[in-house]
């Protein structure tokens, strides 16, 4: 009964090789750091006025290594804007340029109250395609629901932001090799343990 375990290990090994080759393949697509300027707006009644929030530095798309550096502290003014937007069911909008210095942006939003009640605790996700172009941006806060909390101003001293990077992955391909290996192994096993069953027809079912 040790045999199947061994074969499973081989299977795993094969899978790892396949994964590694995938990595190698992807690596020549895009690697290298880049910086994106993150802009935000506390939008009331659809009037978005964007101002710089900070920069996102992506060191490696593969390793999901990115972090956010705020441009300045969250000022008194900002707190008031956020409070106002929060109370008037406004939005908190974010955008990054598609390329650094470009006028084309990708943007996203959350209700302003969600940012307010989370006291600046948000996670950004930036999506890249395989050649490293920016596709989209999204943001979630923890907690994500508005319950009408009143948050003390002291909580808004600094951003508690994490940045995640997602890159397009390669699609699945039919895994014929593993299946053929498995069939071969089954065949070998059958040959090995291929002693004839000498029991009678009824004996097999008793």
């Amino acid at each position: 009964m040790a045999a199947p375990i061994k074969y499973t290990a081989v299977g795993l090994f094969l899978a790892i090789i396949a994964d590694l080759s995938g990595l190698v393949h992807l690596d020549d697509e895009f690697e290298g750091s880049r910086t994106l300027t993150l802009e935000h707006s506390f939008t009331i009644d659809g009037n978005a006025i964007f101002s710089k929030r900070g920069t996102v530095v992506i060191r490696s798309l593969k390793g999901n290594k990115a972090h956010f550096t705020p441009a300045s502290d969250f000022t008194r003014e900002d707190i008031n804007l956020l409070k106002k937007a929060s109370s008037q069911k406004g939005l908190y909008q974010l955008r990054v340029p598609v390329k650094e210095g470009s006028q084309q942006y990708v943007s996203t939003f959350i209700p302003a109250c969600a940012l307010y009640e989370s006291s600046l605790n948000d996670q950004l996700t930036i999506n890249f395609d395989q050649s490293g172009e920016v596709l989209g941006l999204s943001v979630v806060t923890t907690p994500g629901i508005c319950v009408g909390l009143n948050v003390p101003a002291s909580n808004f001293s600094d951003w508690k932001t994490t940045v995640e990077v997602m890159q397009t992955v390669s699609g699945p391909v039919p895994d014929t090799q593993t299946y053929i290996d498995k069939m071969n192994r089954d065949k070998v096993e059958k040959e090995k343990g291929g002693q004839n069953d000498n029991r009678s027809f009824f004996g097999k079912y008793v």
């Binding site: 996203t108 596709l135 941006l137 994500g144 699609g171 593993t178």
Partner: protein
Amino acid sequence: MSAQWKEIMLVINFLFIPTVWCLYEDQMGLFDWKQDFVGKVEYLHWDQSPAAMGKRLFVGTEKNVVASINAYNGSLAWRRVFEESVRGRVDRLLYQTNILISVLAGGRFVRSWQMGTSLLLWETSLLADDSIRASAVFTSREKADSFLVVTAHALYNIKTNDGKKIWETNLPKSDTANRWFIGVNEDDTYALVGVTPETDVVMATVNQEGTVISQNSVPAPWINDDTSCQIVKGSYFVCYVPSKQALQVLRLSGGKNFISTSLRDLGFEATSETSIEIPSTGVTGFETEIILRVSRNHMSVLTIEGNSLKIVKNMPQVSAVQIVENEDTSYIITLQKSLKEPSVSITGYELKSGQESAELSQKIPFANSHGLPLKVNVMMFTRRRDSKIGCKVAILSEDDALQVIQKPGRVSWRREEALADILAIEMVDLPVSENQAKFEDEFGSHDDVFVMFIKRLKAQLSQLQSFVIKMVERLQGLRHPAPTLSDEDIDQEEEEVEEEEDLIRDEFNLHKVIVAVTKAGKIFGIRSQTGKIVWQHYLPDLSPFDKYNRQTMLLFVQRTTAHFPNPPQCAILGKNKRTGNALIFTINPALGVTIAGTPPNGLDLGYKVVQASLLNEVDEHFLKGIILMDTQGKIHVYPESVQISSSLPSLYLHLTDLDTNIITGYRIVNTNDKGLKADEVWNINLQKSQQTITQVVCKRAIEHVHSQGRVLGDRSVLYKYLNPNLMAVVAEGEEPPSPGTHKGPSKFFSIYLVDGVTGHIVFHVNHKRCHGPINTVHSENWVVYSYFSEKHRRHEIAVLEMFEGKEQSNSTAFSSLSPPPQPLVLRQSYIFSSPLSAMATTVTEKGLTNKNIIISLKFGGLLSLPKALLDPRRPAMPSQESMEEGVIPYIPEIPIHTEAIINYNRTLSRVDGIYTGPAGLESTSLILTYGLDMFYTRVMPSKMFDVLKEDFDYVLIGSILFIMILVSILTQKLAAKRALSRAWK
């Protein structure tokens, strides 16, 4: 060893699953029906051969079909379906006595057909460019032994009996000219005119040996691809120029320039429909008259005498004209739709004298739902008995219908060819029966006790009445209709009786009305159990939205039958042909009557629509609203009685711009002064420089998901990621060849799963060296898509399945604004051994039943594939746990079992789409495929778990039950007796 056995047994088990779907032979056609279409008819010929005179029609259609139709009942004698691409385009269909020749794809394929059986007699291939339509004519009026084909490269003379080329000639300017006209001159030379758009026309005269005798070119900067032109008498070239509102005439022998004749000079007022009419038989090359369509219902026959145009007959109010010859006399046949009543009068005039021929004139009923008759093809004959002339008439109308008159005054049959181009489809429940409705009325209202009591009595009385009627009917057996005057009346009466009985919901709600919106602007209501048309409406102004060559129309079910006494309501949204604005038309889908307040030709909304969606908000009559966004970004709600303010501001819309590949999300807000407004809240950029968005697939609103998760082998639950706002965006592109390697350009595609509220890209995947057409099915927590792998040269199907994980973040509701953590996306891909044209998933009432994927295969099969075979959790190495869970071990290829082909031997050609709808039975899903063929059936993906089988043995079960009861009574008695006797001891 035992584990292996188990595994093998498991595989065997799953291999046998499909067998349960197959039908018994006597069940063929019991739950399904199929209808064959040919598409919009372009060429039409009556069979004139002595053997089958007037018994068949030959048609060539826009859907790349050549077919023969039985003239007595309209059934297809045979049908040849060519390729869907330009390689199958029917450029000309030539017919003479015993010869039927099709010229396809600019002359690339010239084929001769055996008329009775559609056997291919011969085929020849000419040097051609398939982007340029070929022209072809016979060399003589009757019994021609050869015919001419002009392709982009040369003029060919081909023998009719074996397809051998007699000669071929290169024509002048064949490199720039992209349309050619042929005419046969009286002196048996051939006149050819080539058109170079916006530049000039070149004329050439070719003699019977194939030598170009003369050639000449004349500047014609006004001419383009759409200009309607014709060669008259083999010596004049006539064109109608819309920009000048004038006819241009050019003499082919030595003419130096076009002579212009304004329509006004002829006494006509030009319209947008003005053009030179091409007869339904195609251009023969022997035309001596011009049929000019002045407007939709104004025709005129002109001729040329001494370089100037002369009106032969002017026919206001006439919408279809044919010039037909019988025994050396030419007749003009005209069709005039009556303005007052639904009828058309057919009139025949002698061409020379202009006298009306009484034998040809007749009046036929012609429903308004056919629009105007557009083309007519008459087969005239002289009766032997009394040497009077008679005729058989085939009519093509605006709604693409083909109808044939065999006996004067009556339409023998009609084919609704609009159904070959369905753009939107829905299945709607039938209304409940009268008794049922009374119950609803009784229990739905809050009257005082006395009124309720009266109602109760009335309801019970009517129930008793219907019961008695039913019993009497059953005793009487089949009813025979009372004898009436003509057979037509009987037909109609029978139909009416049937309708009254049938248009009521059945016990299991299996019978529905299929509402189909077609490209021609016709809307049909079709009975799902028989495929018969219940009602039809033709809207002359309705046309599809046409963007990037993709035609769409929208059909919304605004109110279902569930809200008695309010009738069900459907809304059809399209584009107004004349104004370009949105056109909306509302109808009661069960009865086919327009909703009060809707204009009979649809309501022009007065703005162009870029996005439309059905709302969940209802008005006080349970009518769902439609939200529309116009080109200015303004938001409209139809009907205005629907108030959406309660759901604001959590209403979101998104727009996909194919020019930039940017998807933009909007939030709808209510501004106090300017009404509703859409604020841009998010956008994503899918890199137009690399790829183009080809599909955006959302989930269906009617879908229910019964199970929130999957129970694993260890009894823990893996929760599904069920985001109702998720959409799958497919973008296709091509990678330029990289200079380093020696590879050519390779195609690829990407799939993005985007949250429609926040624009959050949940997952994105890319397939290299693969291309479309990509068929995508998006349901529950999975996306299944098919594509072609260039690397392996095979079709593949991939599946993405999303799970939240072992814990569910919010079990009661899903909110995109506070989403669960990044889902786990499992993916797997399989080899699919057959090309496929469409995919859909079954949908049931409560979503309890397993899902099947319905795949239409290019070879004509309709495959019902269990979703369990497309499950990314299929393990390569089956473990104890996966076996416990019942996941099928991974096999790279998806098997195509013939038992799983639900259309058995009924081949389906060119399936455009598959519609699936729920039935009242949870186990059953209704399926309708549409395209060139329509096929309706039902599937039970988890077998019929909620219905007793037809062969259920009631007698056996009943008698066993009876015996058991008897035995138990008996034993009770015996036991009591025994107990008594024991007590005495």
